[in-house]
Amino acid sequence: MPTLPTTISTNAGLLLRYLPAVLAVGLIAYAIVAGGHFVTLAGFALIYAVFVTGLNIFMGYAGQASFGQNAFAAIGGYASAVLTATYGWPPIPALIVGAAGAALCAVVIGYPTLRLRGHYLAMATLAIGLIVYEVTVQWQSVTQGYMGISGIPPLGIGSWEVTSDRAQLIMLSIVVTLCMASAWLIRNSRFGRAIVALSGSEDAARALGVDVARYKLAAFVVSAVYASLAGSLFVHIVGFVSPEVFGMHMVILGFTMLYVGGIGTITGPLVGAIVINLLPETFRGLKDYQDLVYGAALILLLIYAPGGLASLGNALKRRPSTPIPATAPKGARP
């Protein structure tokens, strides 16, 4: 009965493939219905899902390393905060200006730094994050330094504002859905294929006519826009911004979410953001041992799901038929 195990493995693969994403969506739906503290947690998870979706385009698709995505979140967040709270702009134009500013900075910064590879690129992008952090601390006339900016209005259009927790969560769910849909469209476009190709082999991509430098820069700019959007969403949801909001912990959390969720996958950023935001809450009852168990859970996740939760189903994928032998059998002569 050779078909029975095949069917089981195919069904289990399909189930595992979609289960994490279905559970993530289920948890958000539960948060909308249940309300309370869970709504806040789910809201932050969704904001991080936007941030990590952008990181995924640069790291997961294009295969580049960036430790400076928090810089673009800060640019978006502060642009929204300053333009709305200080200058009275409506939130949406402020958000768009923030995203444009982040894109422009990404072009200016990315043009020289993206010539670097591997660890060198990682270090250069890390420096970008530190520089922007320092600017937000020192440029007190605009950013109010460590005091931060408060009184940032919630998102809305005209007199209509998204004020209740549930409405904000629904709005964030829509934004995340649009972000994931756009990431899917990018991945399946000519641009998406080109950036995935350069992550595999820059030389091979170049030899097919792909302008590697231009596409790397474009991927960096796109990921910066996502980060900026996440920064803007954060300040409008919380109503306050200070330099610590966009510190190094944001990068570390983003990386953890990306790898736990599934780097290079479409749903991975959402799954990772929800798991990483909810895990500490799950272990809250353990009190003193909370951090220990949280750390152990992350290690176990990365050991048993190295491709991330969103790619669990791939482990059970079956090859369609017998392959052609790759190498010469022993004793074979050319």
């Binding site: 000519r190 294929r193 080109a194 995935v196 190709a197 595999g200 082999s201 030389d203 091979a204 991509a205 170049r206 030899a207 097919l208 006519g209 792909v210 302008d211 290079g264 090859r319 369609p320 038929s321 392959p323 052609i324 032998p325 790759a326 190498t327 010469a328 059998p329 074979a332 002569r333 050319p334």
Partner: protein, 243 residues
């Protein structure tokens, strides 16, 4: 055959091509040409500079000298522009994109025409007719295929751009004899249909079966030119290799 080949219009002319890796000179003032419709083999031992030659033509390695393709001098470090001129390289080790599906790899092969549309479909059908095995694998990730299938994909992907010159770097590397024969037979058919090919290969007897002409590279220099018809035995081949 040699004189017949010589009379063909030269489409690729390489003059005084040199390349270095730091202090090491990998290629020293190489002159080589490929005629219209020719299959020219570049033979030589491991580390002779054969791959560097192809990489230099493609602009993937910095080099000095002149490479003229169909009467135009190619830029030395603009690989995209060289690809746009109609030269496609199937690199050593295949260079397929493992996490992507076979279909996506083929789309990337047709990157310069956008990877979709009626023209793409026509090219894809042509490639799938050449390598029917790929048809069964279209939705499979390329990295999960066998070495033989990956080599077929690498050649198929290169053909998607309808090249005017195909550069092939060791297509037989790591493959079973049967698969190698199958791939080389397909290359021979493509060449007979008019596609000029510059083939780098260590397995000289296989390459000489297909080639109109051959060059032997040794220590980064062209050490001999061979008319394949003159090679009747391993001794003849050894004479050209070691003389």
């Amino acid at each position: 055959m040699m004189s017949e080949s010589r009379s063909r219009e030269k489409i690729l002319e390489i003059q005084a091509l040199s390349a270095r890796y730091g202090q090491i000179e990998a290629l020293h003032s190489v002159d080589l040409d490929v005629g219209e419709g020719e299959l020219v083999a570049v033979l030589g031992p491991n580390g002779a500079g054969k791959s560097t030659l192809l990489r230099s033509v493609m602009g993937l390695t910095s080099s000095t000298g002149t490479v003229r393709f169909r009467d135009k001098i190619l830029p030395r470090r603009d690989t995209s522009a060289i690809a746009r001129s109609g030269i496609v390289l199937v690199p050593e080790g295949r260079g397929i994109f493992g996490p992507m599906t076979v279909q996506e790899n083929l789309q990337l092969g047709a990157y310069l025409i956008g990877g979709r549309g009626a023209d793409f479909e026509r090219r894809r059908e042509k490639v799938l007719a050449l390598f029917p095995r790929l048809k069964e694998r279209l939705t499979q990730t390329a990295g999960s295929m066998s070495g033989g299938e990956q080599q077929m994909l690498a050649v198929g992907r290169a053909l998607m751009s309808e090249p005017r010159l195909l550069l092939l770097d060791e297509p037989s590397l790591g493959l079973a004899p049967k698969v190698t024969a199958e791939i080389l037979e397909t290359l021979g058919r493509l060449n007979r249909d008019g596609l000029p090919i510059l083939l780098v290969e260590q397995k000289a007897p296989l390459a000489l079966k297909l080639a109109n002409r051959a060059y032997v590279v040794s220590n980064g220099r062209i050490s001999a030119q061979i008319d394949p018809r003159e090679i009747k035995s391993h001794a003849d081949l050894a004479h050209h290799y070691f003389n």
